[in-house]
């Protein structure tokens, strides 16, 4: 008796969903809109960061035609490189969004690719929002089907799934049919790359920018007629078998268009790895009960063993500090926040932060989920207040909504956009009525006087 199990044609089914007449539910559209405008603001905020400018100056040596907007900057470049540089900028602060259960944040790959495709073909803002929702769904389904073993092996799932999400979103904006979309997804899939180990250096943001560029390029190649493997995702030598111990293609394709993983995306309230967020919340809650941080003898944090990925007592740079639970807890007590200014190299190297980091004691408990934390503080007086954060990031009370989101956008964009910040906020609020080009134009700083 021979049993033959044929894997579901995941590549084709995902492509048909991405190219097809999907009706995005309104709550998913709202989430996609938040993902879009948040990523724009985060990228504008990091548009002068040395990592962004180094990436930009490298690709500028190619002397590309200026068809596409660089967020927060006056220069322009070509679509593929705009996707890369904007992707780098959107990831530098690790302040985008997160799907809590899957631990995936796609926006730095997804949004820049979609934006460049939309700008190139003069699409509407509403089209961009739909495409981001659908691209996100494709990327999240890929991540869900690959499962935790993908990450455990060392892959940066946000980058590996991000390139595929970017291809789906940009392919939709280019108007690819199902067959071409399948090829776009195939070409992006065979280029899935990015490592967790690289996230603590300049290569972390670069991986997301590269995913954005690869995704857009894959869609453009497919549009031109280039082809790849029909079963790129589920084939015997495809993504699933190569990068996961137990790929589940059913999770990738079942109930597409009916249930939406994208509905569970959260906008990040803190500018660091999502693994640090529950402990930050606990620290912010305990902070008012500690008279002075100088009184702190020990902070005991209990987390899931997976959170050891961010057990990093001596970060040296802002990028490393975003992956340091000790630093995140320390600045939460010291500064009462965990925003980009808590992760500058100077803040990381400051003596008070270094001193408090040494007092953070991490233990693990597998009964605590990765999005939970338990914290107690021992002060010199011996008081021991306790705080427990359950389902930290997912809780609706910490979700950035409405005004909170827009104040985040404003604070990120204002230093770069200056007097044009109001126009930017308006274009974000009216994204459904806008054209993509209006949106990108509102994301650039004022032209210097005299020009």
């Amino acid at each position: 008796m021979i049993e033959v199990t044929v894997p579901l044609p995941a590549t084709r089914l995902l492509a048909e969903f991405a190219a097809g007449p999907a009706e995005v539910p309104s709550e998913v559209r709202e989430t996609a809109k938040d993902v879009l405008v948040n990523a724009l603001a985060v990228a504008i905020g990091a548009s002068n960061h040395p990592i962004t400018t180094t990436a930009l100056s490298s690709v500028q040596t190619l002397e590309n035609p200026g068809l596409s907007t660089l967020l927060g900057r006056k220069e322009r470049t070509s679509p593929v490189w705009a996707a890369l540089v904007n992707g780098v900028a959107a990831q530098v602060e690790d302040f985008g969004d997160i799907h809590r259960a899957l631990q995936v944040g796609l926006s730095a790959a997804l949004v820049p690719a979609a934006l460049a495709a939309a700008e190139l073909r003069n699409r509407t803002g509403a089209h961009v929002v739909d495409s981001i929702a659908i691209g996100a769904e494709v990327g999240l389904r890929i991540a869900k089907g690959l499962g935790p073993s993908h990450r455990e092996r060392g892959w940066d799932i946000s980058a590996t799934a991000g390139g595929i999400a970017a291809a789906a979103a940009s392919g939709r904006l280019l108007g690819l049919d199902g067959r071409s979309m399948q090829m776009a997804i195939a070409l992006a899939t065979t280029q899935s790359a990015g490592l967790l180990v690289s996230r603590s250096a300049m290569t972390g943001p670069l991986q997301m920018g590269q995913a954005a560029a690869n995704g857009l390029e894959a869609a453009l190649l497919a549009e031109a007629g280039f082809s790849g493997a029909e079963a790129a995702v589920e084939g015997r030598r495809g993504l699933g078998f190569l990068t996961s111990r137990d790929p589940d293609y059913g999770l990738m394709v079942e109930r597409l268009n009916q249930t939406w993983e994208a509905a569970a995306i959260m906008i990040k309230p803190f500018a660091c790895s999502e693994l640090c967020h529950p402990a930050i919340e606990a620290a912010l809650a305990l902070r008012p009960r500690v008279a002075s941080t100088l009184d702190i003898a020990t902070v005991l944090v209990v987390v899931n063993p997976m959170v050891l990925e961010v057990d990093r007592p001596n970060p040296r740079t802002g990028l490393e500090a975003k992956l340091s639970l000790q630093h995140c807890v320390a600045v939460s007590f010291l500064d009462g926040s965990a925003l980009p200014s808590q992760f500058t190299d100077a803040r990381v190297q400051a003596p008070d932060a270094a001193a408090l980091r040494r007092k953070i004691d991490i233990t693990t408990d597998p009964r605590i989920d990765p999005d939970e934390a338990r914290m107690s503080v021992e002060t010199l007086e011996g008081e021991v207040p306790q705080w427990e954060v359950l389902h930290g990031i997912g809780k609706s009370e910490v979700r950035l909504i409405g005004d909170q989101l827009y104040s985040k956008l404003r604070s990120l964009a204002a230093p770069t956009l200056g007097p044009r910040t109001d126009a930017f906020i308006k274009s974000c609020q009216d994204v459904d009525k806008a054209s993509a080009r209006w949106l990108t134009s509102a994301s650039t700083p004022p032209v210097a006087p005299g020009r």
Binding site: L67, A201, T203, G235, F241, P313, R316
Partner: protein, 467 residues
């Protein structure tokens, strides 16, 4: 296996990961020492053979629709067209010229193969990574040939450090390791210092690509070009000060670990610069997967002995087990798929007594005589056979059996193409695109010892614009 990486701090400050100097750093150090010296004459000669061979395949496919499709994307994305694409009148920018060149060079699967590393095709990646940047940065002939040789060598060695698990699992080592090698090759031509070279290689390690699922589609050849282009961009980033985690390659959850269940990063460095793996490169005698080659040799031999092919009842094809794993395709739909069909190679060689590009055209693949012969073939795996070994036995209608055995395929390491045979192959590839230019190109490859050797070579592989 090493301990599960607990802390990701990369530098020596924490002392957690770098108990010794990172592999890419040591590679950069060895490389900077190496490029101060001339290549040993035998290595130089093998590099020239690799280069001539791959220029032939790149030129032959330079106007393939797949290359045109890449250049459509380039039309809205590429910058100044300063980099050449061999065989084409117009080049592109550094990035897109690298993609187009690598794609064309590997498209017909007729380039070269380093078998032990998991069938790496070093020439396509190395040509794409070095030609454009060599021209733009004004490389001398010897420096260009050195960078080309080094790209091949690093690529082969990186793949060897992951072999055999990596290729077997389903990756294409040519491209997964290609960006690292290309970053270093391009970096040498940019004049990067040791620190920059190490960073370029580690940046390249974050942009691996290439699943073997793409076999039989143009994406497989795209892998070669894109790996080279990724390497060039990695070099440009490192030149501007971009940095990477030094242990990106060998960290317990680094590139080597995600790409292969078993790997030996030290294998990359052992004997680097003293013992050249490039010397074990082989040049394909036939435009198809290298495991098909001994079967084709056997079929050409058998064809004469059999005479009347109509009288064959069944064909037993004894082969290395890898043939079943990689190229068992009884009914290829087109020329590209036929390149990974052991059955097609044998059938067409029986019928036509040769297996050149014509024999892998879509028309020939679909022809009735060849389709019939393919249907008679039974693959017989022989675990005692080496990869370049095959035997064919024809059972005739009257019960007569005729058998032929090929211990080493033409073009294999044990039976390499001579310089004269290689030139004949090159001429067959270059003539249709650049009529009358073959000797000039071959002379330019052999003349890379002169300072302006690279300019002469680029001139020779460019079509004369119609006056």
């Amino acid at each position: 296996m090493g301990d599960k990486l607990k802390r990701l701090d990369s530098g020596p400050a924490d002392g957690t990961v770098e108990s010794q100097i990172a592999v890419m750093r040591r590679l950069a150090t060895r490389l900077t020492g190496l490029i101060d010296e001339a290549l040993p004459p035998s290595v130089e000669h093998e590099a020239e053979r690799t280069l001539l061979n791959v220029l032939g395949t790149a030129i032959f496919s330079s106007s393939d629709p797949a290359v045109d499709q890449v250049l459509v994307v380039a039309s809205t994305n590429a910058g100044r067209k300063v980099a050449p694409i061999p065989g084409r009148l117009e080049g592109s920018d550094l990035y897109f010229a690298a993609i187009a060149t690598g794609l064309a060079a590997h498209l017909d699967d007729f380039d070269d193969t380093h078998v032990q590393s998991g069938n790496v095709h070093p020439g396509s990646v190395a040509l794409a990574a070095t030609l454009g940047i060599g021209k733009i940065r004004g490389a001398t002939g010897p420096r260009f040939l050195q960078a080309f040789a080094v790209t091949c060598e690093v690529l082969i060695r990186t793949a060897l450090s992951l072999a055999p698990a990596h290729h077997k699992e389903g990756w294409q080592p040519m491209s997964t390791c290609g960006a690292i090698a290309s970053a270093l090759g391009a970096g040498v031509l940019m004049g990067l210092n040791e620190t920059q070279l190490a960073n370029a290689a580690s940046i390249g390690a974050t942009r691996s690509l290439g699943h073997r699922e793409a076999l039989g589609t143009p994406a497989k050849a795209f892998h070669a070009g894109k790996a080279a282009a990724n390497g060039v961009i990695s070099g440009l980033l490192a030149e501007r000060g971009f940095t990477a985690v030094p242990t990106t390659f060998e960290a317990p959850t680094g590139l080597a670990a995600v790409l292969a269940r078993e790997s030996d990063p030290e294998r990359l460095l052992a004997g680097f610069g003293e013992e050249w793996e490039l010397m074990r490169n082989t040049y394909k005698a036939y435009p198809c997967g290298v495991v098909c080659h001994p079967g084709i040799d056997a079929a050409i031999e058998l064809s004469e002995a059999v005479g009347d092919l109509q009288a064959i009842q069944v064909l037993d094809y004894e082969c290395h087990p890898l043939v079943l794993e990689l190229v068992d395709r009884r009914d290829p739909g087109n020329g590209l798929e036929a390149r990974f069909s052991a059955q097609h190679g044998v059938a067409v060689a029986l019928q036509d007594r040769r297996a050149g590009l014509v024999e892998y055209s879509d028309a020939r693949v679909r022809a009735a005589d060849v389709t019939h012969l393919r249907s008679l073939i039974r693959l017989r795996p022989r675990s005692d056979f080496s990869r370049d070994e095959a035997a064919l036995e024809a059972t005739m209608m009257d019960g007569t059996r005729i058998r032929t055995h090929v211990p080493h395929a033409r073009g294999s390491l044990s039976c390499p193409l001579t310089d004269a045979e290689l030139y004949v192959k090159f001429e067959g590839l270059a003539e249709p695109v650049l009529p009358g230019a073959s000797q000039r190109i071959a002379d330019a490859v052999m003349g890379l010892g002169s300072v302006d050797g690279l300019n002469r070579l680029i001139d020779a592989v460019s079509p004369r614009s119609p006056e």
